[in-house]
């Protein structure tokens, strides 16, 4: 049976929480606030504490999660979230600080932030970091604002940013939000950036290049040094989308590849949990010449004390009304401490090992458009199943019946019927083998019993949902049913 909505569980007279009794003399609000600003009705439910606990517990059991099983969602780095980090984020000395407390009362918090900045700068090979952006997309926006500020200061007239056709959809969107036009660059036969195409589009109006390396095909672009050189030759900046940093930590660094700006996704690489879609954190690192443009406040140490510095003349300004998603940053800090320099290098080593192992085995059953060593993820094509009337979507849905989450599908767009698989380092060979066997079985089913795929999933809390009606007649608010 479906779990009722919280509103349908409501019972007048129920209370889920009791406040201490009011201990000050009362006045009538109507004597202090004009009547038209006083509320008449409040359409919220009323439930007991146990009703609430059961409702949300039951709902939680309808989710797939990393805790339950394999979650090979490409480009999302769904690795194990160490439990101890949750405890660290809940220490009273971090969780119960008001953002407006004087700096002298939060020295430990500021020291943690400064240390994390330094660690992330070292890992990426950059000179300075901001921890403020709330997510990857906001990190991108921040990086592009820095790019804009740099060109403005130099008096450069730049209007365009280059993005490879394998890039994340957020890249062009972030460009649009600062007013840059997007120039799409083709991929070459090896899946890297087509240098000739880039050269033919390079000119004085190019503000920069946004690129993920390894890219969304999971492939490392060996030409990155030359690409960076070309962009720098027109005084452009090279931007690193850090979604795939899990592939290279301790092996190579964006800063050493020639990148000027980097954003990271701490909820991916540094295992702060994904939380069902957030909160994340999207710190941005820059080379020395861009440091003055970083958002404020900056965290400074004067030799004795830490301070939040807001008076930064050339800064692009704050992108959030706080220092960032602080407790997410605490988790990343704890993760780095436990892993340390050799641990982080191992993270990438095993992430890459797992991906290559799966790729080698699965390429016997599915099309592999770019057959070379991958990094932390790889992309298969489901186009070979078309002859059975089966699509990648059907494979994804069938995987759910086997208790796995599906890979990222239909992205990157340059591969037909794509399936992007990212195992992460925290999965065992046993789990990988089970998944591989499920994929092989599904491929056999596609030929022999395609209806098993077309009808899948059948073992999940609900089956395929009517997305067309959902969008045509949106029912998005309990209080307003569609006509």
């Amino acid at each position: 049976m479906a779990e009722p909505l919280i509103f349908d569980l409501s019972k007048d007279g129920c209370r889920g929480f009791t406040l201490p009794a009011l201990d000050v003399p009362e006045v009538d609000p109507a004597d202090h606030i004009p009547a038209r600003f006083l509320r008449q009705e409040l359409p919220l439910p009323s439930l007991s504490e146990l009703d609430v606990v059961r409702h949300f517990t039951r709902l939680s059991r309808l989710n797939h999660s990393v805790d339950i099983g394999f979650y090979p969602l490409g480009s999302c780095t769904m690795k194990y979230n160490p439990r101890v980090n949750e405890n660290m984020a809940r220490l009273a000395g971090f969780a119960n600080l008001h953002p407006q407390q004087p700096d002298e009362t939060v020295q430990g918090a500021l020291q943690m932030l400064k240390t994390l900045e330094e660690s992330l700068a070292e890992i990426t090979g950059m000179d300075a970091m901001t921890l403020q952006p709330a997510a990857g997309a906001q990190g991108e926006l921040t990086g592009l604002l820095i790019m804009l500020a740099y060109h403005r200061k130099k008096g450069n007239h730049k209007t365009k940013v280059m993005i490879p056709d394998s890039g994340h959809g957020t890249n062009p969107a972030s460009c649009a939000m600062v007013g840059y036009e997007v120039v799409n660059i083709k991929s070459d036969a090896r899946g890297g950036v087509d240098i000739e195409d880039l050269k033919s589009k390079l000119g004085p109006d190019i503000a920069g290049l946004m690129i993920t390396n390894p890219n969304t095909l999971g492939l490392f672009d060996e030409n990155i040094g030359e690409l960076a050189h070309l962009i720098h030759s027109v005084d452009g900046l090279v931007y690193y989308d850090g979604a795939n940093l899990n592939a290279i930590m301790g092996w190579t660094r964006p800063g050493d590849m020639g990148f000027d700006i980097v954003h990271l996704n701490l909820h991916k690489t540094f295992s702060t949990p994904h939380g069902g879609g957030g909160p994340g954190a999207g710190p941005v690192g820059v080379k020395k010449h861009l440091e003055p443009f970083l958002p404020n406040p900056r965290i400074q140490h004067d030799g004795k004390k830490y301070h939040l510095q807001t008076k930064c003349r050339e800064s692009v300004g704050p992108v959030l009304a706080s220092v960032g998603n602080f407790l997410v940053l605490v988790r990343a800090y704890a993760y780095i401490l436990v892993n340390g320099r050799e641990g982080l290098k191992n993270v990438s080593a095993y992430a890459v090992l797992n991906a290559n192992y799966m790729m080698q085995r699965l390429k016997k059953t599915f099309d592999l458009p770019y057959d070379r060593f991958c990094k932390h993820e790889f992309v298969l094509s489901g186009k070979g199943l078309a002859k059975y009337g089966v699509k990648t979507l059907d494979v994804a849905k069938r995987l759910l019946d086997f208790g796995f989450h599906a890979p990222t599908i239909y992205f990157p767009m340059i591969v037909e019927e794509s399936m992007m698989i990212e195992p992460t380092e925290t999965e065992s060979k046993g789990t990988l083998d089970c998944f591989i066997e499920a994929m092989e079985m599904i491929a056999r089913e596609a030929a022999e019993k395609p209806e098993n795929l077309k009808n899948a999933p059948t073992k999940t809390p609900v089956r395929r949902l009517d997305e067309a009606t959902a969008a045509r007649k949106p029912d998005i608010n309990y209080f307003q049913k569609p006509e």
């Binding site: 919280i6 009362t105 994340h168 320099r341 641990g343 809390p461 949106p474």
Partner: protein
């Protein structure tokens, strides 16, 4: 050193064999030697869990918290009572180790929670619809402005000077690169005179942004301002405190087209500023201008009710270079935090929290009025936050802090004309004793 990698040495060899390489290094062979990291990262070696806990706990203990002090700080983040149930539910791995519900068949928990969040926020704000949440209050307001400029095809936005100055800074960083002109409308007596807004309104104006209650604690006439705004063909954007809406009339009824705000007061720990959650609600006509994610209720092929991400064509990563918003995800876990809070407190509980905040703040004002030297620069209505003028304010609140009382936020941080003025917030969590102690201590420091 970490133990999050389960592969045994024997399995490693087996896997390398299956791949056809000798060492893991071979898998990194295509990285040109000059780009390889020489040596190790310059960060400390890994440590065991207990060693890490000791280090991090010691660092946390050096901070002064709102637990071992008494907090009268507000300015957008408030020290409310948080029921224990919330964190127990948030710690369910099925919630916090899941990701965006891309496969709805195995994500109904997250999806239904978001549908409930959208409905609760719609009900609380009196709007037709809300999205799945935003990063926090400031960026929710930025996106509200993006909606208004896209809808009206105008680019001037009037922002009342009584809107949170930290939000105004974020707007200035994020709205102006696209050519939005932000015009500040100054306040008198703690609120903005609607006549001043009327003067600034014309057919270039896309929206008027106001806060309810405003940053200084006062209650703007959002009804009158919204009406004027509509007459000029512009949209009314109200930045609302959700707890205040337990007592105050909904922005929806008072004419708002878009309501944005910070969800922290709904049961989220202060967390030194984040993660919080923004909310964004709007009138029906603006549905397709809403940024971010939206969950809709539908049915599966067996006719069973279920939930999906819907209207996805609006989303920025789908629209790519035609995007009109920055948010690609939402703040699902924090939205869940507020959803559980609203469910637990319920209709009566939220009303009572709001009422107690109101009563205690008004009690503080009556008591402070008895303290010699204290004055109140503004005369208007307020909810749970007010401006107090104290001689040598910075010095006095510095002394209060040393006595374990965070007495308020000095307003000359942002307003040069509010020297010696302090913004003081009182929530339901403060007791009569704490308020009395505040007044005694303050009196002592002013007059001692």
């Amino acid at each position: 050193m970490a133990n999050y990698i389960p592969t045994t040495p024997a399995e490693l060899q087996e896997m390398l064999g299956a791949i056809g390489v000798k060492t893991v290094d071979d898998l990194f062979a295509e990285i040109p030697p000059e780009l390889r990291l020489q040596g190790e990262l310059n960060i400390p070696a890994g440590m065991s869990e207990p060693e890490m806990i000791r280090k991090v706990t010691r660092l946390a203990q050096t901070n002064e918290t709102v637990d071992n002090n008494v907090c009268f700080l507000g300015g957008g983040a408030y020290d409310h009572i948080i029921p224990s149930v919330i964190d127990h539910l948030l710690l369910r791995g099925d919630f916090f180790t899941a990701y965006t519900p891309y496969q709805p068949e195995v994500s109904q928990g997250t999806l239904q929670c978001i549908y409930e969040f959208q409905s609760l926020i719609s009900g609380l704000t009196g709007m037709d619809q809300a999205n799945a949440s935003m990063y926090e209050g400031a960026t929710a307001t930025v996106e509200a402005i993006n909606m208004a400029t896209a809808q009206t095809r105008r680019n001037r936005v009037l922002v009342l000077q009584t809107v949170n100055p930290e939000y105004r800074r974020v707007m200035s960083s994020l709205n102006t690169p696209l050519g939005v002109e932000l015009i500040s409308v100054p306040f008198e007596d703690g609120a903005v005179d609607p006549a001043k807004i009327q003067e600034a309104l014309n057919d270039q104006v896309a929206a008027v942004v106001m806060q309810y209650p405003n940053f200084l604690g006062g209650i703007e006439d959002i009804e009158k301002i919204s009406e004027m705004t509509h007459n000029a063909g512009a949209l009314s954007i109200v930045v609302a405190n959700p707890i205040a809406l337990g007592l105050l009339e909904t922005p929806g009824k008072l004419g708002a087209d878009i309501v944005a705000g910070e969800g922290q007061p709904l049961g989220i720990p202060l967390s030194y500023g984040g993660p919080y959650v923004g909310f964004l609600a709007a009138k029906k006509a603006l549905l397709r201008r809403m940024p971010g994610r939206i969950v809709g209720r539908t049915t599966d092929i067996d006719g069973k009710a279920g939930y999906v991400l819907t209207l996805q064509a609006r989303e920025q990563h789908i629209r790519r270079e035609k995007a009109s918003s920055n948010i690609c995800s939402n703040q699902a876990l924090m939205a869940l935090n507020t959803t559980i809070y609203m469910s637990l407190m319920g209709r009566e509980g939220i009303k009572e929290v709001a009422l107690q905040c109101f009563q205690k703040a008004h009690y503080l004002k009556r008591e402070l009025a008895k303290v010699e030297g204290v004055s109140f620069p503004f005369t208007g209505s307020f909810f749970h936050e007010l401006v107090v003028k104290i001689p040598n304010a910075r010095k006095v609140i510095g002394k209060m802090a040393k006595q374990g009382v965070f007495a308020g936020i000095p307003l000359d941080n942002w307003f040069s004309n509010l020297k010696d003025c302090v913004l003081v917030a009182v929530t339901e969590k403060r007791t009569k004793d704490e308020i009395d102690h505040y007044c005694n201590l303050l009196g002592g420091f002013i007059n001692g």
